[in-house]
Amino acid sequence: MAATAQVTVARHGGVPASGGRAGLGGAVRSELTKIRSVRSTYWTLTAMILVTIGIGALFSFGHAQAFSQLPAGQQARQSAASIAHAADYSLFGLILGQLIVAVLGALTITSEYSTGMVRTSLTVMPRRGTLFAAKALVFGAVALAAGLATSFASFFIGQAILSTQHISTTLGHPGVLRAVAGGGLFLACCGLLSYGIGAMLRHSAGAITASIALLFVAYILSNFLPGSWAQHIDKWIPFNAGAAIWENVSAPDMFSPWAGFAVFAAYTAVALAAGLILFRRRDA
């Protein structure tokens, strides 16, 4: 026999006798540590911020260029419409940003399955509803904070570009603050929708594909619908409903900003509820 391991697992008061029942508070702190301690979180959020801002800036720049080449008379006529759409132009990058936050949302839960971590997580917190809620709260808060930062940064950079042609807007204009803050809400909601899908599918690639299909492909396909159908269906497409809140000028046949967002939030709630039911019921 070689050296016997000297074991003192710290019966000597290593752990306080009681600190109350393990609950949501601890689970939230645990999830916060989890999300902060893997690189994929930072990479994904950085990608979301850069892509969203970049595309918004590009779109704003393109529009400013086009505007600058108009004859003076036409510029005068076009100016008011351009200013009304100025917020939309700068936020256009959200169309891709939503896909990146969806990746992070799905990974928040599917990475637990792909790494096997879920078995460890559930043995330290076997109350699955609590674990699911803690994950949703932490990811939702992170996505909302990053989403708001992204949306406001996109707006200010876009406006700076548009202001070169004097067609920028400000947060003080009617509906603009709602649109910009709405961009952050929209991103957080996209992420949570994808989190719910991730809980249902438990597989990273599958969940990301499903989320992108729902958020992006459905939107593209809806553009090919015959006009008479489109009139009734288009507004219910997740992207169209969700985007209503960050489009300062509502398109015809679409929901009003808050109604659209309510529809989008309802889709998210359905995905979360389905994910929770399956997460609780299935063997891990």
Binding site: M1, A2, T4, A5, V7, T8, V9, A10, R11, G14, V15, P16, S18, G19, G20, R21, A22, G25, G26, A27, R29, S30, E31, T33, K34, S37, V38, R39, S40, S111, E112, T115, G116, M117, V118, R119, T120, S121, L122, T123, V124, M125, P126, R127, D283, A284
Partner: protein
């Protein structure tokens, strides 16, 4: 204390475990043995609430696992060394577990020290070797200083030093009065560590007894004798009620008599003895024999179960029939 009552789990068509009833007592190491596919991991998953039983119940300290107020302080489990996010450092992995049960964060450092991973605390767990992964898993299990520890095949893939370390750790934990429940498909491993055995095969308990009783009750002992005058000895053995068979190596294998008895017989028969070796069947042989009828996948190789136990008309041993429950007494 872990108590299973009529525990049954069916995955689709497959009956993984069936009507398991057993109790894991504190203060000793209970080995949970069975061939691969016998249902050991399934049973542990059921104990931890990862899977829901189809029928029956299993409780930890009288409660369902999901009801435990602070699970980590009651049960520490190592099911799978890979149940870790590879991108997270060892320290952060333990921190997020500690936070979930409101444990002080310094525990992460303490258990890393205990398992010898302090130097790599900041390294990503994905780069760990299998042995380091096992140590990290054990650190996680010890984090809450629990009274019950469960390890699923903890020595799998470890080098001899790692195996020895885990053995000693388990012994020390049991000596502190904790309940240690450890699964293995290697009998030789259990022979060195376990005090008590629960043997399962094809999802059923086939033995629940002490290690000593298990060997005594499930194997036939034999004695190897070498003598220049085998005929006289064989006759003497037959008269004394034993059986003797030549082993082809010039020696005789006697069953049904103790080594002392064989030595006395040789003395009274006035024949010289060059070798007299009691051949105590190992736990391995006893296990193979007991589970022979319950191995789910068996190579189609010919030849009976090792251990040579079938021959004997020894009379004293109860025949170890394949699936028959063997419950030796002496639960101490």
């Amino acid at each position: 204390m872990i108590e299973a009552r009529g525990l049954t789990k069916r995955y689709g068509e497959t009956l993984a475990v069936s009507e398991l009833s057993f109790t894991v007592q504190p203060g000793r190491i209970t080995g949970f043995l069975g061939p691969n596919g016998a249902g050991k991991t399934t049973t542990m998953r059921l104990i931890l609430g990862l899977d829901r039983p189809t029928r029956g119940t299993v409780t930890v300290n009288g409660k369902e696992f999901r009801q435990l107020a602070r699970p980590m302080q009651e049960v520490g489990a190592l099911l799978d060394a890979k149940a870790v996010h590879g991108g997270r450092s060892a320290r952060n992995h333990l921190r997020c577990l500690a936070e979930a049960n409101n444990l002080p964060l310094r525990r992460a450092g303490e258990v890393l020290e205990l398992v010898g991973l302090s130097d790599v605390a900041g390294k990503r767990a994905g780069g760990f070797s299998l042995g380091m992964g096992q140590r990290l898993g054990i650190a996680a299990a010890l984090l809450g200083d629990p009274a019950i520890l469960m390890f699923d095949e903890p020595v799998n893939g470890l080098d001899p030093e790692g195996i020895l370390w885990i053995r000693n750790l388990m012994k020390a934990l049991a000596a502190e009065g904790r309940t240690v429940f450890v699964s293995s498909h290697l009998m030789s491993e259990m022979e060195h560590t376990a005090d008590h055995l629960i043997v399962i095969g094809r999802g059923r308990v086939i033995a629940d007894c002490s290690v000593a009783d298990f060997i005594a009750g499930n194997s036939v002992q034999s004695v190897r004798v070498r003598t220049p005058d085998p005929v006289v000895l064989v006759n003497a053995v037959a008269q004394a009620g034993g059986t003797a068979v030549a082993d082809g190596d010039g020696a005789i294998v006697v069953q049904g008599l103790t080594a002392e008895r064989v030595g006395d017989l040789a003395f009274t028969s006035r024949i010289p003895v060059h070798e007299l070796t009691p051949d105590r069947a190992s736990l391995e042989a006893a296990f193979m024999e007991l589970t022979a009828a319950s191995v789910e996948f068996r190579a189609g190789a010919p030849g009976g179960p090792p251990g040579g136990g079938r021959a004997a008309d020894s009379g004293s041993e109860p025949g170890p029939g394949g699936g028959e429950p063997v419950r030796a007494g002496g639960v101490a």
